[in-house]
Symmetry: C2
Subunit: 198 residues, 2 copies
C-alpha cells in the first residue's frame, strides 16, 4: 500500500515531475512539502501559477516576457542596437552585466533541422522587419556557441547583411578567471585565432 | 530591467523557491517552464495542488496521509505489530521492502528539545492508547538513527514497557552491498557490538 498511489498525491507528484530535471524522488519531496503546507500556502502557490499564465505575455516587438506589450525595454530604449538571443533567460543574463543598453530580440529557439525547427519557426521575420523599420545600425548575435546557435548566427548574418546593417557576434574565448590548463581545445583554439592586439 | 522582477513572475519564482532545497536559479527554471507551458498544463498543475490539500488528510488511527480515515492499512491490517516512524515517507520506505505486514504509527516528528519539540508535540498519546486498546504485542521503533531519533526511541520504550508490550528497535549496522573501508566509525562500532551469532 503505497501512499504515493493515493490519487490526489499521485497526481501532484506527476505534475511536479514535469518540471525540468525533476525526477520521481524530488517530485515526491515537493508534493509532501505541499501536503504539509498550510491551506493558505498551497492556495498562494496555485494562484501564482494561474496568475503568471493570465498576466504574462510576449512583447509584440522583441518577444520577451512582459505584463504590458510593448515591454519596458522596447518602450524606453532605442532599437539602434539590437541584441539577438535564443531565450528570455539569455536576455536576462546579458541584462545582469549592465553593459548593454540597447534592445533585445528573442528568437524563441534556434534553427535545428534534426529537431524539425526551421527558419520560419523562430522569430526571424519579426527581426527583419524590425531592423528595416527602425533604422537599426547594429545587430549583435548572442545565440549560444553551440552547433545550432552558430548555424543560426550565420543564417541571420546572411539575411541581414544585404540590408546594410552591421552584424556582429559575441566574442568566444576563455572565460575570465579560468585557467588555460582546463580550457577545452575548441575554446582555446578559438581564443587564439580571435586574439586581439594589445 | 530584470524580467524576474515583473510581479507575476517574481511571485511564482518566490513560491517555487519555498520548495525544499530549491534555490533561486532552480525556481527560475521552474517558473519559466510554467510560463512556457500550455494554459491547460498550468491549470492542471494548480488544480493538483488545490486538490491534494482538499482531499488528503491524516488517518485518525496511524497519522499517515489518506483520502479516507481510517486509512487502508489501518482497515486491512492487524495492530498486533505496530511500526513507529517519524514521517509518512518513512512508512513508505518500509512498505517498499514488502517485508512488514503490520500497522504503522506516524509520530510526525521526533523529540528535539533544542527545536522546542517535546513529547506532547508528537503523536505519542495516540500511540499509547492504541497499544492499550488493541492488545498490541510488539512495537518496532523505526525512527532515524540520529540523535533525536535515538532519544525518541528510548523515550517511547520507557513509556511502553510498563504496558507489557514487546518493544524493539530496527537493527543498525553496515549497509548491504557497502564496503567496510568506507563505513563511518560509529556505524562500524555499532555493527561490531550488535554482532549476531551465525
Amino acid at each position: 500500500m503505497d501512499i504515493n498511489q493515493i490519487e490526489p498525491i499521485a497526481r501532484l507528484i506527476n505534475e511536479f515531475s514535469k518540471l525540468p530535471s525533476v525526477g520521481k524522488k524530488t517530485a515526491e519531496r515537493y508534493a509532501y512539502h505541499i501536503i504539509r503546507a498550510s491551506d493558505e500556502g498551497a492556495k498562494n502557490f496555485a494562484d501564482a501559477i494561474m496568475n503568471v499564465k493570465a498576466k504574462i505575455k510576449f512583447c509584440e516587438v522583441c518577444g520577451n516576457y512582459t505584463e504590458t506589450s510593448p515591454c519596458r525595454v522596447c518602450r524606453e530604449r532605442s532599437s539602434k542596437t539590437i541584441c539577438v538571443v535564443k531565450e528570455p533567460k539569455d536576455a536576462m543574463a546579458i541584462e545582469r552585466t549592465s553593459s548593454f543598453k540597447g534592445a533585445y530580440h528573442i528568437l524563441h529557439g534556434t534553427i535545428n533541422p534534426l529537431a524539425g525547427v526551421g527558419p520560419n519557426d523562430i522569430r526571424l521575420k519579426e527581426l527583419l522587419s524590425r531592423v528595416a523599420e527602425n533604422g537599426t545600425e547594429e545587430v549583435i548575435i548572442a545565440t549560444n556557441p553551440d552547433v545550432e546557435g552558430e548555424a543560426t548566427a550565420m543564417y541571420i548574418a546572411k539575411l541581414l547583411k544585404p540590408l546594410g546593417v552591421k552584424v556582429s557576434r559575441i566574442a568566444q574565448g576563455i572565460s575570465m578567471g579560468s585557467e588555460l590548463e582546463y580550457a577545452d581545445e575548441v575554446t582555446l583554439s578559438r581564443a587564439l585565432s580571435d586574439r586581439k592586439e594589445m
